[in-house]
Symmetry: C2
Subunit: 213 residues, 2 copies
DNA sequence: TAGATTGTTAATCGATTAACAATC
DNA sequence: TAGATTGTTAATCGATTAACAATC
């Protein structure tokens, strides 16, 4: 590992995919893998695999053999999930999308711990979502003052996301995972933001189908 | 427009975002916009806006003035949604994610027409999802033979996606929009594929928070 | 006219791919 | 040893940014 080489965002985006493939290899009792084989399975190149591995840690590849699956998994787990302490997360929006997404966040194996969910619909307040009680948005400030959540997940319609973004900016949230159409990149220049624009992705597919990729 | 310049995938991915911002401008009765102003609102550069516009059509910018919002919208609508005919789509998986996502596909303004939804759970068959009856997966072949859907949307757990992918490959589907963890890029080399890996995106956010972007 | 802005070419930047000596 | 594969440097490719003449 060259410690001066920092993983770029494109590399970081590929790490979960490596992790998934390596998990599958481990499940198949494969203990060692070459960059060439892994690349073939993932649909990339051996060069890219080796370049990526070069900036994630001490991968200890052995010439003529390949990499230890267990060692790669240990390295990736450290990077993706830290050393055990999960990031505390709060969810905004407990509709169908929020409910579906909550199971990702609440899953113990994804590196997050869901500690609260917020909505404004009276009939939802007090119900639970992935085992967490749904709070009214009015309780947000008090909750954050007390528990200091690190991550926010937004599953809100656009107008809701806009309103929340204005309130959240001063609450110490370090990163956002946003499913809204509303683009949070601008209002939160300092936070880490991952946007998944379902609608945008759908429209891009349509474009590529209509215009031949 | 330079007709020899074809929009690259990164450009295509940005088109829906232009479209959203331009819609907002139109709603605000703004009829003209410069690349500089649009870039500032979208968090990009004027150069990129002009380069992108250069390969999407006859944008007819006027020096000293900017672009006509209506004209840009007309061009983007043509690209993203074609000339009226929506792409026929079928949905796999009518759970919480499928239900949430179905409203995107079924929305008349996104360029798609949802014509069928499939699941295997007996209690779901015959129910409706976004106004479309849920069919049993056993009816898939007969349905495709008759209606020739163009697009498939997969909201399935990994194992389901793997099984479906094996069946779909010969059914004339031209593109996929995939929310599963399972990566369809390899089994469908010829189709246009958009993957939205919710779990991968979440893990990337975690990495960036833990390791400082 | 003067200021602003386009369209397009050139320069830069960064990511991917290729190459290869080292070595298991 | 011979074949395979790494780690890393160099080459290529592509996307983004800068620059600027044309002109509204």
């Amino acid at each position: 590992m060259n410690p001066s080489v920092k993983a770029s965002v494109p590399v970081i985006r590929r790490l979960p995919k490596y992790y998934r493939y390596l998990r599958a290899l481990k499940d198949a009792n494969i203990t060692s893998i070459s960059s060439r084989e892994l690349a073939a399975q993932m649909g990339t190149t051996a060069s890219q695999v080796r370049q990526d591995f070069n900036c994630i840690g001490d991968v200890n590849g052995r010439q003529g053999i390949g990499y230890s699956v267990d060692n790669l998994l240990a390295i990736l787990e450290g990077l993706l999930f830290g050393d055990g302490e999960r990031l505390t997360a709060i969810l905004f929006g407990c509709g169908r999308l929020g409910t579906a997404v909550s199971s990702f966040i609440a899953n113990n194996n994804n590196g997050f711990r869901l500690i609260a969910a917020f909505d404004v619909k009276p009939e939802l307040i007090g119900q639970t979502i992935s085992g967490i009680p749904i709070r009214h948005l009015d309780d947000l400030n008090a909750f954050c003052d007390k528990h200091h959540p690190q991550v926010a997940v937004l599953c809100l319609p656009r107008s809701g996301a806009e309103e929340i973004s204005g309130r959240l900016v001063n609450l110490g949230i370090r990163g956002y995972w946003n499913f809204s159409h509303y683009d949070l990149s601008v209002p939160f220049p300092d936070a880490v933001v991952e946007n998944v624009h379902l609608g945008d992705s759908l429209m891009s597919l349509g474009y590529r189908l209509r215009n031949g990729d």
